[in-house]
Amino acid sequence: MSTYQSFTSLARAMLLGFRRDKGALFFTVLFPLMFLVIFGGVFGHQATAKVTVVAAGPVPLVDRAVAHDGDLAGTLKVVRAASRDAALKKVEKGDADAFVEQSGNALNVRYSVADQVKSGTARGLLSSIAQSANLAATGRPPAYTVTEAQVEDRSLKAIQFFTPSLLGWALASAGVFGASQTLVTWRTKGILRRLRLSPAPVPTVFAARVAVSLGIALVQFAVFVAVAHLPFFGLKLTGDWWLAIPTLMAGVLAFLGIGTLIGSWAKTQETAQLVGQLVVLPMAFLGGSFFPLDSMPGWMRAVSYVFPLRYLNQGMLDVMGRGLGPGSVLVPIAVLLGVALVTALLAVRVFRWDAA
C-alpha cells in the first residue's frame, strides 16, 4: 500500500473538486482581485498627490521656483482663476488647497482648514519658496541644509500596500473556508467515515488537504503579483520579495488550522460558514488588509496583534513593498506557525468522524 499514492490521488481529487467549483474559484481568486483592482485604481496615485494652489494675479516668485525646481513641480501645481473672488471660492469648495497672491515682495496666502494636511503642505511649500528666494537674495551659499529621503523605496504607492494585504485576506479566506467546508462536508456526507474504513493513514488525508491549499495559495500569489505588475497598477517588487513565499506558506498553515478547528467543531455547513465569516472579516479589517495599520488609532493597532492575519500582512508588506530583509519575516513566520500548531492541537481534541 503506497501512502504516496493515496496522498497524490486524494490531493488530485481535492484539486479537481476545487477547480470545478466555480463559487470557490470566484471567492478565493477573483473576488479579492476585484478589490485589488478597485483599491489599486482608487488610491493608486494618492502617494504622489499634488498640492494645488490657485492664483488670480501674477505670482512670479512661485512661478519661477516651480519652473526651476523639478521636485517642486512634482508636488505643487499652480492654477489660475479669473478673479480673486473666484479663486477664493475654489479654495472654499476644496478644488484648490490654497490661494496665493503676490504684492511686491510679499506672498499672501489664504487657505481652508477643511483639509489640514494639504493646506499645511501648501503653506509649507510656499514659505520654503519665500525662504529660498531670501537666501538667493543674500548671494551667499546656505549655512545649513537639509537633505531628505523616504524611508521606503521611493516607489511606495498604494499598490505596494494593497497587493500584499489584500492577498493576505484572500489567503485567510481560502484557508479558513477551504478547510472548514471540506471537513464539514466530508463528515456530513460520510466521506470521512469512508476514509476511516480505508487503509489510508489518517495523516495522509490531512497532508493532501494541506498540499492542495499550499498550491492554491501559490496560484493566488502569482495571479495577484501578475495583475499588480501591470503598468496601470505599477507594483514594483523589492529586493527579497521571494521571502513572501515562505511567509504565506506559514500563513496558509495557520488559516488551515483555524479552518480545521471550525470544521471539527461545527455540525453544519451553515454554522461553519457563519463562524468563518465572523473570524475572517474582523480579522481582515483589524489585521490591516483594507487600510494600513499605521493609520489606525492606537487601541486598534493594539487589538490587531491578536489576529494572525496581521503578521502575514506585515511580513509580506515588509519584504514585497518595503524592501526589508529576511529579519523582518522571522517573527511573522514564527507566530503563524505557532497559531497553526495550537489550532491543530485544539482541532484534534474536538474532531469528530461522524455527524451523529
Binding site: L10, G190, R193
Partner: protein
C-alpha cells in the same frame, strides 16, 4: 479459521437507550447474511461495531479472525463498506471516484472501468456524481465498496429510497457479486429483499435478535395459514365455509378469501365447483414472520 464474522453478546448504550442489547451471531464464509428490522432496531449500530467504526460497550467480535476495534489497518483492505449514496468526493466523475477510492487501496486506475461495467455504469463514466440518478449513485457506491476486491462486504440499506425498478436492478447487481464467493452482510427493512437475496437473516428489534435462520425456514416455522382467494361472488360464503380444510372465510366485496392449512384441497374443491375465477394462492412471507415477531402497531 471458523467464521468470517463471529459476534457474541454485543452491547451498546447511547445514554439511557440500549441500542444493542446482547446480540450474538456468526456469519460463514461466502454467506449472504441479512440483518432485518424496523428503523431504530439497532441494525446500523451492530454493523458499525462489526466494521470497527464503534466500540461495543460489551461483548466480543472478530472479523476474518481479527478484532475490528481499534482501527485495524491489516483488516481494512479485506473488507468493503458501502455507505449512503452521498459519500462521494464532490464534483468528481464516476470514474474518478472509483480511481480515488481504488488508490487508497493501491488498486491500479484501470480497474475503475471494469467496476463501472460490473454495475452497468460504463456510459456514465464521465458524469459527475451530482448528476447521477439515485439508482445510479447507489450502484456506483457499491462499485466503490468493491473496487479493491474485498472478501467481506457490508451494505447498509442499499435500496432505501430507490424506486421499484432501481431496486430490482440493484438486486441483480447484488446477486451477481455474491456469486463470486464473497461474504456479504446486508441491512434492510425490505422483507422481500431479504427473502430473495439472503441465505440467512437475523430479525432484530429493540436492540435484540428475535429470530435467526434461512428465510424459508423462518416462514415455515411461523406455521401461518395459506390464503386462497377468488373473485367476490364466485361462490356464496356459506358454500365456501363448507369447503374441506377451510379454516376461515371472509368476503370483503372484492375477494373471497379462504384461510387454510391445505391449500391444495381447497383449490381442488373450488375447481370441482368451477369457481376458480381470479384465483390466487398466498403463502406466508417473511413480512408475516416479521410482523408476528415485532407487532403490528405503528411506531414512528
Amino acid at each position: 479459521m471458523a467464521y468470517t464474522i463471529s459476534a457474541s453478546g454485543l452491547r451498546k448504550r447511547y445514554g439511557d437507550v440500549a441500542a444493542v442489547d446482547g446480540v450474538s451471531f456468526d456469519v460463514e464464509a461466502g454467506e449472504f447474511f441479512g440483518i432485518l428490522g424496523p428503523n431504530g432496531a439497532g441494525k446500523t449500530t451492530v454493523l458499525e461495531i462489526v466494521e470497527g467504526l464503534r466500540r461495543a460497550d460489551g461483548g466480543e467480535v472478530s472479523v476474518l479472525g481479527l478484532p475490528p476495534w481499534p482501527r485495524n489497518p491489516r483488516l481494512l483492505p479485506r473488507i468493503g463498506v458501502q455507505l449512503q449514496s452521498s459519500a462521494f468526493f464532490e464534483r468528481l466523475t464516476a470514474r474518478e471516484q472509483l480511481q480515488t477510492f481504488g488508490s487508497l487501496y493501491g488498486v491500479p486506475a484501470a480497474r475503475a472501468d471494469a467496476m463501472l461495467e460490473m454495475v452497468g455504469l460504463t456510459d456514465k463514466a464521465g458524469v459527475q456524481v451530482e448528476k447521477l440518478s439515485g439508482g445510479q449513485a447507489q450502484r456506483l457506491s457499491i462499485a466503490c465498496a468493491l473496487v479493491h476486491d474485498p472478501e467481506l462486504v457490508f451494505l447498509d440499506e442499499p435500496t432505501a429510497a430507490l424506486d421499484p425498478q432501481a431496486r430490482r436492478n440493484l438486486w441483480d447487481v447484488l446477486a451477481g457479486i455474491s456469486t463470486e464467493g464473497r461474504t456479504i452482510v446486508l441491512t434492510t427493512h425490505h422483507m422481500d429483499e431479504a427473502e430473495s437475496l439472503c441465505d440467512r437473516v437475523a430479525i432484530m428489534d429493540a436492540g435484540r435478535i428475535l429470530q435467526l435462520g434461512a428465510p424459508a425456514a423462518l416462514v415455515r416455522g411461523l406455521d401461518a395459514p395459506a390464503r386462497v382467494s377468488v373473485a367476490s361472488g364466485t361462490l356464496p360464503v356459506e358454500d365456501a365455509r363448507a369447503l374441506p380444510a377451510a379454516d376461515e372465510v371472509a368476503d370483503d366485496g372484492v375477494s373471497l378469501v379462504v384461510s387454510t392449512r391445505d391449500p391444495g384441497a381447497v383449490v381442488a374443491a373450488l375447481a370441482a365447483k368451477d369457481a376458480l375465477a381470479g384465483v390466487r394462492i398466498g403463502g406466508a412471507t417473511l413480512e408475516d414472520v416479521f410482523l408476528e415477531l415485532t407487532g403490528r402497531e405503528y411506531r414512528a
